[in-house]
């Protein structure tokens, strides 16, 4: 299986009150092509930090991150930007949108950076993705003129625009109610079915239950991992139960 991302012995620390605190204590993790992974753990256990490190947005203190065979330590700022733009998509908990641009512009922003010429095609593609995630018609709205759920979907559209090999979601459903949350997960499943790897951070057992590999973190370490078969709607309750049991087992 082709490995998209390899993290080896990642150590990441932050200075707090003049003292270095290790947030990641030598984490190793691999993500394969087309995988559907979720990352669970208590608040402050380093989930976001790990995700930022794996995506090259944060520089690690020691250890290595390799994306598609490229060691990030040897990549220049511009190469990192290229990787972020072409290899991965990001969905954050809060909708990270530029308030100056309307929904459509926010979605196409990462794509038009390189592709000045084929704007018509880009817009066409954006519209078809918007249709897929169910936010057709919001193109010209300001980001303040749509609901949180719609904004989050727009975020997914933006993440999908450059046909990424992997999509990261840092608690993408965290600010949504359970109805929207499930719809969002349908979307991620669908994306995953099209061979795009997905990695989600979540607190929600119902969200984790939709994925096929669950990593459990505590105090900056991956302490456990469990795998589930491909998702079928009828197994939902069993899967949730399994995740809950596992969570209780390791005490999170």
């Amino acid at each position: 299986m082709k490995k998209i991302i390899i993290g080896e012995n990642i150590v990441k620390s932050f200075r707090k009150l003049n003292e270095e605190h290790n947030v990641l204590n030598g984490v190793s993790v691999e993500i394969n092509k087309g995988e559907f992974v979720s990352l669970m753990g208590p608040s402050g256990s380093g989930k976001s930090t790990l995700m930022f490190a794996l995506s090259g947005m944060d520089v690690v203190n020691s250890g290595r991150v390799i994306i598609n065979g490229k060691d990030l330590a040897t990549a220049s700022e511009n190469e990192l930007s290229d990787i972020r733009r072409k290899t991965m998509g990001f969905v954050f908990q809060q909708p990270t949108m530029l308030k100056n641009l309307n929904i459509l512009d926010n979605i196409i922003l990462p794509s038009v950076r390189d592709n000045q010429k084929n704007k018509t095609e880009i817009v066409k593609k954006a519209k078809s993705i918007m249709k897929r995630v169910g936010i057709t018609g919001l193109e010209d709205r300001d980001i303040t003129e749509v609901s949180g759920g719609q904004l989050q979907r727009a975020g997914i559209c933006r993440a999908l625009m450059n046909n990424p090999e992997i999509i990261f979601g840092d608690e993408p459903t965290g600010s949504l109610n359970s109805q929207s949350s499930q719809e969002m997960m349908d979307l991620f499943s669908e994306i995953n079915n099209n061979c795009t790897a997905v990695m989600l951070v979540t607190h929600d057992a119902k969200v984790a239950a939709r994925t096929e590999r669950i990593l459990f973190m505590r105090d900056g370490e991956i302490i456990s991992e469990c795998r589930l078969p491909k998702f079928e709607a009828k197994d939902m309750d069993d899967r949730v139960e399994e995740v809950m049991v596992k969570m209780r087992e390791i005490g999170i």
């Binding site: 976001s48 511009n78 930007s81 038009v112 303040t144 608690e171």
Partner: protein
């Protein structure tokens, strides 16, 4: 919570706080300086003119003097307090050697006098009346300024040796604008020199009631007394003495106005940016019931502190600088006795600035009231996006590079914020353009048309006495192969009949005015015998307009003329007229001017020398030399000023641009982080910021240029009109104004932006986005 906001604000915006303070200090310093200088100038001027007992009315006269009639007039006119006739012994510049230097190239009329008995005293540099001993020579102060002489120098005047014993202040002729300069020697020495030059008379009066000078002038001219030469009154002496320092004060005031405007812009930008940044927090405060006025109080308190420190700093600076700035006034006019009042006025000026700042802050803060609590909490941003900018979408943008587009869109959708920066850049380009255009204009060859001088190479001037020798000169000019054309312009004195029947003197220049045409503000040059044109000042004083009828009286005979044109003139006090009729009476000739143009301009120097030798009684000058010496000090002052302005404007541009870009970057951290998260490189983001600042600066330059060519031209015209020139338009050097200056401005903006925004690389994505 208040304290936290303020503390954060102060710590985060150290640079802005400091810059604002610096601008306030600069404004305070300039206003205080202007006030101090103005009070000292007027007081020193008064002191000098009082000590010197400057005449209220002075008539220069060349030719026979009718002393008896003058004495009778002085006795009979009830307003005359004192009367005297002073001799002014004209000597060629080449006869005067001071130390190593000769005055041969001087276009001034250099003359010698003795100390006066009753009034019009020549003063030493301590303000005392000079008593020259035999062998002592006192030299006009302006030659000290030009470094032509030093105390103790040997001087040779028409072969006679003197020692330069000191310098003198001449309340009449101090200014370089005055065409004559007086040297002072002892009575004995004067007697020896007297036969070596030719004598002009200064007929001087002190009046009991100086406010009735108008009536006195009329009385003098109707009596037909000696009047073969310029007439000058007390107020004109005062104006000439004060004008160069007065202009400097004017410029300082203008600059201080601009600096105040810039400090306002800094404050506005900071507050608006703050408001955008703290939008959510202010909304929250409102939501939990805190009062807006409480929030406002904090900011006002903060600016009160900044303004106080700035004002005090500025005041102290002005006290240091005033010494240097007062040097010129002290040199030409002496000490003022109003130093305390001057400082007081400076303080009042600063207090005015202080309060206007607080009022301004208060006004900007009104925007706080508009913040809606619910909007602020829900979106953390204000909703008043610009409608037009909304239509500018990336999806429809086909023309621009994405980064350039984003930069421009940001400017257009946050107009309120960028207008502040725009105004500063408008001011900066205005500051560059106006002095530059003014300098280009007054140093251009065509500027002399505003002086009432046509376009020619040299000018030969003779006084009325030598009128009989003019034909000889004309013959010589006729035969000279170097000469391509010349004109003989004879100035004679006539009486003008006023509407109320009274008569006034009018000097009319007769001859062919079509050979060396000058610029007419209105109408045209006289062509027919019954046409006359007036200089701007004369037209204003006589209340005549183009088309009016003017009646001249000569030997009791009246002649009517149609007023045909108005022209600018800054020669001879600006009071001249032009006509073409013939009048053969040589007795009334005051002076004759023969403008000459050469077939080869490079021969000027040689031709000047030839004619100076051949006709020693005539004053032959290279016109460029004439202009440089008359206007030279002003031209070089304006040139210096224009370089200083460029430097100031560029510093302002760099300072303000980096300040604003820095603040924007701090404010936009989140947005930058988002873009970086989605694969925009640091270079991309830098390009966006560069677009913003260059876009704003281009608009600023365009507006600044337009303003400079309209308002700036008017302002400069005001300055020029004080010399008697009327309509004035800039001679613009397109290369300087439309290429180099804009490039310099854009370069400065670019430099500041690149320099400031390399920091984008330091904006960490995770720190700014991670939840």
């Amino acid at each position: 919570m208040y304290n936290r906001i303020i503390r954060n604000d102060m710590v985060k915006s150290k640079a802005v706080t400091l810059t604002t303070m610096i601008f306030i200090a600069a404004a305070a310093m300039l206003v205080s300086l202007a006030a101090i200088l103005a009070v000292n100038l007027s007081s020193a001027l008064d002191t000098m003119m009082t000590k010197a007992k400057t005449p209220h009315f002075m008539q220069m006269h060349a030719g026979e003097l009718d002393t008896e009639r003058l004495q009778t007039f002085a006795k009979e006119n009830s307003n005359v307090e004192e009367f005297q006739v002073v001799e002014f012994l004209n000597l060629e510049g080449s006869e005067i050697t001071l130390g190593e230097n000769t005055l041969a190239a001087s276009v001034q009329d250099n003359g010698f006098s003795t100390q006066n008995k009753q009034f019009d005293y020549l003063l030493d540099l301590d303000g005392n009346i000079i008593n020259a001993a035999d062998g002592e020579l006192y030299v006009p102060i302006s030659y000290k300024q030009d470094n032509l002489a030093e105390v103790g120098d040997r001087a040779v005047i028409a072969g006679k040796e003197f020692i330069v014993a000191g310098f003198l202040r001449d309340s009449q002729m101090n200014s370089t604008l005055s065409a004559s300069k007086r040297f002072l020697v002892s009575e004995g020495d004067y007697k020896e020199l007297r036969s070596l030059g030719y004598i002009e008379y200064l007929i001087e009066f002190r009046l009991k009631d100086p406010s009735k000078i108008g009536a006195f002038e009329t009385a003098y001219s109707t009596k037909g007394l000696n009047a073969n030469g310029p007439t000058v009154t007390y107020s004109l002496f005062k104006m000439m003495n004060g004008i160069s320092d007065g202009m400097m004060i004017g410029v300082i005031l203008l600059v201080s106005g601009l600096v105040v405007a810039i400090s306002f812009m800094c404050i506005r930008f900071t507050l608006l940016a703050k408001m955008e940044e703290d939008y959510r927090e202010i909304g929250v405060m409102k939501a939990i019931g805190l009062r807006v006025s409480d929030i406002k109080k904090i900011y006002i308190a903060k600016y009160a502190v900044i303004a106080t420190v700035g004002s005090i700093l500025g005041f102290i600076l002005s006290l240091f600088l005033k010494e240097k700035m007062l040097e010129n006034i002290r040199l030409y006019m002496g000490q003022s006795d109003q130093s305390a009042n001057a400082i007081l006025l400076g303080i009042i000026g600063i207090i005015l600035i202080f309060f206007s700042i607080l009022i301004f802050v208060n006004n900007v803060l009104r925007g706080f009231r508009k913040i809606s609590a619910s909007e602020a909490i829900r979106f953390g941003t204000s909703q008043d996006r610009n409608r037009k900018a909304k239509r500018l979408t990336l999806s429809r943008n086909k023309l621009w590079n994405t980064n350039i587009f984003l930069g421009m869109k940001d400017v257009l959708s946050r107009k309120r914020l960028y207008i502040t920066m725009l105004l500063v850049l408008v001011i900066a380009s205005f500051i560059i353009m106006v002095p530059q255009n003014l300098y280009n204009t007054i140093s251009s060859k065509s500027f002399i048309q505003y002086m009432g001088i046509g376009n020619y190479d040299l000018r030969i001037q003779t006084t009325g006495i030598d009128v009989k020798d003019v034909p000889k000169m004309v013959d010589a000019l006729k035969l000279d192969s170097d000469v391509s054309s010349y004109a003989v312009l004879t100035t004679k004195s006539f009486q003008v009949k006023m509407d109320d029947g009274s008569e006034e003197n009018l000097k009319v220049e007769l001859g062919d005015h079509s050979i060396f045409p000058i610029a007419y503000t209105e109408g045209r040059a006289p062509e027919a015998d019954n046409e006359i044109a007036l200089s701007k000042i004369n037209a204003d004083e006589l209340g005549k307009q183009v088309g009016d009828i003017l009646t001249l009286v000569k030997d009791g005979e009246e002649r009517s003329f149609t007023m045909i044109g108005i022209y600018s003139d800054i020669t001879n006090g600006g009071k001249t007229a032009k006509a073409v009729f013939t009048d053969d009476d040589e007795a009334t000739v005051i002076w004759t001017i023969i403008p000459v143009s050469l077939s080869d301009h490079s021969h000027v120097e040689q031709v000047v020398n030839e004619y100076t030798d051949a006709f020693p009684f005539a004053k032959v000058s290279d016109i460029e030399e004439f202009v440089t010496q008359t206007l030279g000090s002003i031209i070089s002052a304006v040139e210096m000023g224009s370089y200083a302005s460029i430097a100031i404007a560029l510093v302002i541009t760099i300072l303000i641009t980096s300040l604003f870009m820095n603040m924007l970057l701090a404010k936009d951290k989140y947005q930058v982080a988002v873009m970086k998260a989605f694969g925009f490189t640091n270079t991309d983001i830098q390009l966006q910021y560069i677009t913003r600042s260059v876009f704003v600066s281009i608009i600023g330059i365009v507006i600044g240029t337009l303003l400079a060519n309209t308002i700036g031209e008017k302002l400069a015209g005001l300055v020029i009109s004080s010399f008697g020139a009327s309509t004035f338009s800039f001679t613009v050097d397109p290369l300087d104004s439309y290429l180099f200056s804009p490039l310099m401005m854009i370069g400065a903006t670019l430099f500041a932006t690149v320099f400031t925004t390399w920091r984008t690389g330091k904006i960490n994505i995770s720190e700014n986005i991670k939840e």
